[in-house]
Amino acid sequence: MPSEEAESADAALLERLRTGDSDAFAEIVRAWSPMMLQAARAYVSTDASAQEVVQEAWLAMIRGLDRFEGRSSLRTWILAILGNIGRSRGVREARTVPWSSLGPADDAAPAVDPDRFRGPDDQWPRHWTPLGKPRAWPRSPEEETLAAEDRRELEDGLAELPEQQRMVVALRDVHGLTSDEVCSFLDLSAGNQRVLLHRGRSRLRGLLEMHYAAEAEVMGT
């Protein structure tokens, strides 16, 4: 549900675009193209194709500005344009990813290794064991100063996620799309979108945890 503030900001932006304000256009091209390049990869398989699809989408937006009725946000509208162009392009490239499904069953690992929880005979079944309990990380991985290696770990982990999980995590957490935007762009149900997000995020948390644990071992703590 877009806030009133977001709606009036959107209306102001639309007005600037309609009156030919090229700074406003350059601004949204800069702001939204990274997210669109990621989204385009849902339909095409190479960087070059994705660049072309995104350019085409912007051109279609420029031409369609007068027809846009403002029933959705501008960002949702450009995503819809991108989806149409991407789909027809993807058909030609014979790339078919079943975005509405959850992927292979073996992508459905539990969020945390079951061995880290107490067994059924314990006084506290299914609660953390003393050894399995998460330990606070030595730093937050987004801290600028120390983050280079942590971030690489995260980028590698993201690249290795199953395709559907990677797409949903990238659009939501890297590019900041809303769940509604992701669901409508990928034609996913809200429930499936959350399952993919959950599996992807859980796996990445686990990778960072291993990364910090390995580091603690080296430091002898």
């Binding site: 193209s33 350019q55 031409r63 998460p134 987004e142 945890e209």
Partner: protein
């Protein structure tokens, strides 16, 4: 034991929490369940740390470098915009 089981926060176990965390962070749990998760987090250090790690993971995903359109493509688009919508193109 029976009483302990009814204590708010303990009708739910840690192994469940780690699978509910996304629904919790997305705000889609019903009010009772969300309250139960919160009560559990008050009691359980491990889950509290776990959920903070999920938040940290999400925040740090927001700092991953991203690709963008080539400079050439961006200036081509700006030119197209000026040609089609700029003052000169007005009827």
């Amino acid at each position: 034991m029976k009483d302990e089981q009814r204590t708010p926060g303990l009708t739910i176990d840690c192994q469940e929490i780690v699978e509910l965390v996304t629904d919790y962070l997305e705000g889609v749990l019903d009010t009772d369940m969300a309250a139960e998760v919160e009560a559990h987090l008050q009691l359980c250090d491990g889950c509290d740390i776990y959920i903070e790690q999920m938040r940290a993971t999400i925040r740090s995903l927001g700092t991953v470098p991203v690709e963008t359109l080539s400079e050439t493509a961006q200036s081509e688009l700006s030119r197209a915009f000026r040609d089609l919508r700029g003052p000169a193109a007005a009827p």
